[in-house]
Symmetry: C2
Subunit: 338 residues, 2 copies
């Protein structure tokens, strides 16, 4: 089983990327990795793993400032384009992992790999913790702005298929992000989307507000990429702000420092729960013909390892086939209604 | 100085509303209040304050389920419509405070009081804490969806005027909520809005993401009401989720409970900082010809008292005149450019 990894995407490349690859190789027996990037540098970093890592030389790097489409077209010798070429051309490569520019990954996926038939907009669906035991995903989290209702319907189907695989659950609760919970609330986009979701073959629980995101009531929150991004980033920012206020406050009182010693386990618990944000930093680009998993630019070795493990699971559980058949069911239902 | 209060708006009406009025009367010497609602009930509740409270009888109540515009037109004997009538007809009434339906307050303000010339969409601008000492406002937080760039420009001007009054600061930092910080990022709305804000007579610091909301870098976050609502509610929800995870975790470990005793002051600090959410629950409807301050439906007496105090300050510091002249400056600049 082969996965191709963009060794020069992200703020901590190539060190953290390569170390993440090694962690994954240690964990997964039959895994092999293709690393794309400067061969000379990489050669020195993979000592002891040569038999399971293939290197494809790539001397260019796509940066966040680069125009996504132009970069994919022009930087043919970049680590990301080389990785996409390998994913496209080699049948034994099951997926691609990169922590590079989101725009370039999206552009590369569409231009090099292509979309599942019927899906016009692939979407990102990161995972967040809730205050209960369950997690929640948001789709789309920023790849697509100015969406149409049909795009949001596809996000709902793809998100539901993805969630049901990663959490082994049959009917994830799908909600539409809105500025009010009643039917009829919302902007033009969400009002039209509501009726599409109501009739779709998913467990649609209606409109939910941003405040319901972390309550555990919702498994899959559907939104256009603009509002979804505001919700995702706002939530992450608020969690970090509260932790920062907490830390600052503990440091400024003598008794709190003493108390902290007693509460270490509690804080570790919280840190673990919140760390899911970074542990699951990987998010597949749902709607592509092959698995493309994007990591946060600031990700570390553990995130890369998790993303590789995730790619393996999504491949085993046939995510792409599931999305294709969800879409087929939808089209059948629509044509039956006609 | 007279303020009219809708005694029957909100989940905790009329008790908490009337108690909040009493708190404000105790604090502010030359204040007088007009209470709108069932006279018989209210009469029994204001014993000792009769000389400073006038009651206008109103037997109907506008509910959240009521259609806003229809409710204002048809429920002429409701506490909210009577309050708007008093604000409209009496020159000595400087403002209105209500914890009733947001939609009905917005509709009533537009239909009964009218908008400042040039402003097509009045907006709400609630306050949130940041992880530094400063607070941040978001405008619009949900009153207006499907906005045009000119609406967001007005939000920026009004938000800047409002922030500079309540925090006594000359050049509040105004940012545009976006899904990326670089110029050129965003959806159609924010791309067009960016150039308007860049040339406006405000301290525009560019695009900011949801994650920058609570960092203290931004004073006034400008957004359409849909994305603004997602950010606001998501942030509030995340803060509550973290506090809930914390509480749950403390309860489940023996040593944490001991540690909690040492850390009481720290937790109180945090609670105070987070409570600003509820303390400042009042948000003026910016862009109306007179002061209309909306409270959260679940608000308590302290929130009502704060809102009344806020109305007094906004009146003294001439918020409405400030917005009018900001708009005038803008129009002058635009016509000079022509």
């Amino acid at each position: 089983m082969k996965i191709v990894v963009d060794a020069f995407g992200g703020d901590n490349a190539p060190e953290e990327i390569v170390e993440g690859v090694k962690l994954a190789l240690n964990k997964i027996k039959n895994l092999e990795i293709i690393l794309c990037g400067n061969e000379e540098m990489l050669r020195n970093m993979i000592v002891g793993y040569e038999s399971r890592i293939e290197i494809i030389n790539a001397d260019e790097i796509i940066k966040n400032e680069d125009h996504p489409t132009l970069a994919i077209r022009q930087k043919k010798n970049s680590s990301l384009v080389k990785a996409f070429d390998a994913l496209k051309e080699r049948e034994d490569v099951i997926g691609l992992v990169s922590a590079g520019s989101t725009g370039a990954i999206l552009a590369g996926a569409i231009m090099k790999i292509g979309r599942i038939k019927g899906i016009s907009r692939p979407a990102l669906a990161p995972i967040l913790p809730t205050k209960k035991e369950s997690d929640v995903i948001i789709i789309d989290s920023g790849a697509n702005v100015d969406c149409k209702p049909i795009n949001l319907l596809h996000f709902a189907l793809m998100g539901s298929a993805y969630y049901s695989i990663i959490y082994n659950c049959d009917n994830p609760k799908v909600a539409l992000l809105n500025n009010g919970s009643e039917e009829g609330k919302g902007n033009e986009l969400t009002k039209e989307t509501y009726s599409l979701l109501k009739n779709a073959p998913i467990n649609f629980i209606g409109n939910k507000e941003g405040g319901d995101f972390m309550t555990g009531e919702v498994d899959v929150m559907v939104a256009d990429g603009f509002a979804g991004n505001a919700l995702l980033k706002g939530t992450e920012g608020a969690v970090m702000a509260v932790m920062s206020i907490l830390k600052h406050s503990i440091k400024s009182h003598f008794w709190s420092k003493i108390g902290y010693l007693f509460m270490k386990k509690t804080f570790k618990d919280i840190k673990n729960r919140v760390d899911i944000l970074s542990k699951h930093a990987g998010s597949p680009l749902l709607g592509c013909k092959k698995l493309v998993v994007k990591n946060h630019g600031s990700c570390k070795r553990n995130n890369i390892c998790s993303s590789i493990e995730q790619t393996v699971v999504l491949n085993e559980k046939k995510l792409i086939n599931k999305i294709e058949s969800a879409l087929l069911n939808l089209n059948l239902e629509i044509s039956n209604e006609d």
